[in-house]
């Protein structure tokens, strides 16, 4: 009985929601048609047509799926430690998770953005944002590893991030939770929000060749919640658009107090103008503190540097930099059409979708068609910027992406559906239910100048009964739609990691041929590398012991180590001598309280081990590597502090001295 009720509730809510719509609802029964299986079948040994980069939400990671199969290809660790990859456990990777607050082991990754050239994916990097302790990460798509992380000062709730301009000139990070600036005295009553809290929009430059990030400037804005953002493209290149809610400037019970106004804003930022102001010396350098972490592929090591200064442009003082235009009901997504002509606002509590015209925006600015100002920033007249409204599309629009035929696809959380509509005439063309409560969606190439338009994936917030039950906690659910025809066709359901806020779909050809297979051992410049077994050694300096170790199928060298004493700090620097694709070796030693290692071919990784007891501690390779993997092991002898056991290390021979003296 209980089960039945649970199932009926979500269905009922969908049907009720459908009642509002002009199109006929599809029932769950006919949502999947007969040829779905053949459309998603990728034969064993065959590659998928697309990569799908998916945010891991509260897991802090980013996942990679193949489409149309929905196969999970990889989870890339970004903002959280990951035991499977050794991320944040090896001495080499620990600095990547350093912040001005210290080591942060777990964050919340929200959005993914593939790097672009001329408005299309170029396959070089994918960016992600840490929402909690504000940071932007750049992942190198040759290695599928996080290569760089930069912290964002003066910011909190780094949500309208990491959206990028059409040539990856900038990655933008906007603050959702306005706070007093870092430099100011933040010890103020919370209800002085209106006076003391500010929102900052950070523009992070990206080096064209090596991807290196740097905070070029920050724009100081009134204290509101900057929710999402998108760069202009084509005709609107040079502008950036941010949705803003809580223009009520409430600091408590936002659910009610930030939902008072009929309309909030979208902020239009002229970043080319910002560059002019910056050149003209209008920026103010202020002191702050933020971490900049870089992983060097040659040394296989990360460094973390604390930077102390950013340049700030004031939106209030500098004219023509920022404009507000009204957008109904706490806007969330503000998505820009492939040509850059239209900006689609999605009010979370709205029952219509406003579509704004970039051309009208420019004319309204030129004509000073203002209805007033908000904290010194001009507010344009809604009607003067509006292209038109999509009427009765559904309830609670969130995000919109685009296909290659002039259509838009908007997710509706409250009415749990994806709605297809035409950008020009704003007519609703099709609607498809999702299971359940879709948040983000993505179309192949859906935010580029040239969308592919073959597939759409809906990322749902509620999973409920879609898969076999696994207790109270369920994986999240995604649904793949074939959108090549007039009607959207659901063809696959697949589970995802964490909470997939946003994702992007890119043709496999853009990325797969650049993928690295090994790290060349000759190029390994880790200070603790062993270039061959002949270079292995164990070195003591006071109570620090460095073990230069190699791993190859199927032994570790050295594999007998004696002379370690209580009170020692032992660093195992394991170099994987393999030069063949997909032959990592693992390293684990009994009682290690801070983790294990996984070492890729040609790489060196380091595990710190502080022995806590006298005796023999075995170590071994944790990643099955060959028929003799079980043999890939060794022993460390730990003696009391002050013991005179000499430091000895070897592989393949017994130490005669030890045998003679101590054999029983």
């Amino acid at each position: 009985m209980k089960n039945k009720k649970l199932i009926i509730l979500p269905l009922a809510s969908i049907i009720v929601a459908m009642g509002f719509n002009s199109c006929k609802p599809k029932s769950v029964n006919n949502a999947v048609s007969g040829d779905a299986a053949s459309k998603v079948y990728v034969a064993p040994g065959k590659y998928d047509e697309f990569y799908n980069f998916v945010s891991g939400g509260f897991s802090g990671q980013m996942s990679v799926y193949g489409l149309p199969s929905g196969r999970l290809l990889r989870v890339m660790p970004v903002f959280s430690v990951d035991p499977e990859k050794g991320w944040g456990f090896s001495e080499e990777t620990k600095p990547m998770l350093n912040t001005s607050h210290g080591f942060v082991p777990w964050d919340d990754l929200h959005h993914v953005q593939l790097s672009k050239t001329n408005g299309d994916y170029d396959g070089k990097w994918v960016f992600g944002n840490a929402n909690n302790t504000p940071r932007i990460a750049r992942i190198d798509l040759r290695t599928f590893r996080t290569a760089e992380i930069i912290e964002i000062p003066n910011s909190a709730g780094n949500h309208s991030s990491p959206f990028i301009t059409e040539n990856t000139e900038y990655v933008v990070a906007g603050t959702r939770f306005s706070i007093p600036p870092d430099l100011s005295n933040g010890d103020v009553p919370i209800n002085t929000y209106k006076q003391n809290f500010k929102g900052f929009l950070s523009f992070i430059s990206v080096n064209k060749d090596n991807g290196a990030m740097d905070i070029a400037f920050q724009i100081q804005c009134p204290g509101v919640n900057f929710d999402l953002s998108r760069a202009g493209k084509g005709v609107s290149h040079g502008w950036f658009f941010f949705s803003c809610y809580n223009t009520e400037q409430a600091n408590t019970l936002l659910e009610v107090n930030a939902s008072q106004k009929d309309k909030d804003f979208i902020m239009a930022v002229n970043w080319k103008k910002a560059e002019e102001y910056l050149k003209a010396g209008k920026g103010k350098k202020v002191s702050t503190k933020y971490a900049h972490n870089v992983y060097d592929e040659k040394t296989h090591s990360a460094t973390s540097e604390i930077k102390t200064e950013v340049t700030i442009l004031d939106s209030k003082e500098l004219k023509d930099l920022c404009y507000f235009f009204p957008c109904p009901k706490s806007p969330h997504g503000c998505d820009v059409s492939p040509t850059g002509e239209y900006i689609v606002g999605s009010g979370k509590l709205a029952a219509l979708i406003p579509v704004f015209s970039f051309d009208k925006l420019q004319k309204a600015i030129a004509a000073k068609d203002f209805v007033g100002d908000f904290d010194g920033i001009p507010v344009l007249k809604y009607e003067s910027v509006l292209y038109g409204e999509v009427k009765k599309p559904g309830l609670g629009p969130l995000h919109t992406e685009f296909d290659n035929k002039g259509n838009a696809y908007t997710s509706f959380f409250v009415s749990s559906e994806v709605v297809k509509w035409n950008i020009k005439d704003l007519k609703v063309l099709d609607r498809a239910p999702t299971f359940y409560s879709v948040g983000h969606l993505c179309v192949a190439g859906g935010d580029t100048k040239n969308p592919n338009g073959k597939y759409l994936v809906a990322y749902d917030k509620i999973t409920k009964d879609r898969y076999l039950p696994t207790g109270p906690e369920l994986s999240q659910s995604a649904q793949l739609f074939d959108i090549s025809g007039d009607k959207m066709q659901m063809i696959l359901d697949f589970p995802t990691i964490g909470e997939p806020h946003y994702a992007q779909i890119v043709p496999a050809d853009v990325i797969k041929n650049n993928s690295l297979k090994i790290f060349k051992i000759e190029d390994n410049h880790n200070p603790y590398v062993s270039q061959g077994e002949g270079a292995t050694k164990v070195v003591r300096d006071k109570n620090r012991v460095d073990v230069y170790m190699t791993a190859i199928r199927s032994h570790l060298t050295p594999d007998n180590i004696e002379g370690i004493k209580m009170g020692d700090e032992v660093y195992f620097h394991v170099t994987n001598l393999e030069q063949d694709w997909d032959v990592p070796h693992g390293f684990a030693i009994k009682g290690a309280t801070n983790g294990e290692l996984l070492v890729m071919p040609g790489e060196t990784q380091t595990l710190k081990w502080v022995p806590d007891r006298i005796g023999i501690s075995p170590f071994y390779c944790t990643d099955f590597c060959s028929a003799l993997h079980q043999e890939m092991s060794g022993y460390v002898r730990v003696s009391p502090a002050g013991s005179n056991v000499p430091l000895l290390f070897s592989t393949g021979k017994n130490q005669p001295v030890a045998d003679a003296k101590e054999a029983k």
Binding site: I552, R553, V583
Partner: protein
């Protein structure tokens, strides 16, 4: 003057087996009799077990050792080979290197160390070695120069002056 190293397949196979078996005497190699001799002159489309499978066809080596090339080979050996191969006849993970240049033709050696997977999948001698050693030799991503260097270092190890 250049000369080609040519030793019969049966003989070389016998040596290889014994080397991998761990220092047995040559005469006691038991499996040598079960190997089918290769045809004397294989046609171009047939697999040539003397040459092996790979990009190298006719590798000519000098009468005398090229010390400079051998030195590059030693570097390769130290980093990429020495974990599993001794310079003596003793088997470690794989066979010892001693005598390999008289057991194998230069092209076979260079093909094997650069095109390892295909050779193990195709070459009868390589397959027989796998049965003894049970660890597939990894492809260590040797460049052509690396492979030539390794060959010259093997020759030096085998007494070429």
């Amino acid at each position: 003057m250049k000369k080609r190293i040519a030793i019969s397949v049966i003989t070389s196979f016998g040596i290889f087996m014994s080397a991998c078996g761990g220092g047995q005497s040559e005469g006691s190699a038991p499996a040598a009799t079960s190997v089918t001799p290769a045809p004397a002159a294989p046609s171009p489309d047939q697999y040539d077990p003397k040459r092996g499978e790979g990009k190298f066809k006719d590798i000519t080596v000098g009468d005398k050792l090229d010390e400079a090339i051998a030195a590059t080979g030693k570097k390769v050996f130290d980093v990429k080979c020495s974990s599993c191969h001794k310079l003596t006849e003793e088997k470690l993970v794989g066979p010892g290197w001693k005598g390999v240049t008289s057991r194998r033709q230069p092209a076979w050696i260079m093909n094997f160390i650069t095109n390892t997977d295909e050779m193990i999948n195709k070459d009868p001698a390589a397959q027989a070695l796998l049965e003894l050693c049970l660890v597939r030799m990894p492809n260590q991503s040797l460049s052509d120069e690396d492979a030539r260097g390794a060959l010259e270092y093997m020759r030096k190890n085998d007494g070429v002056k």
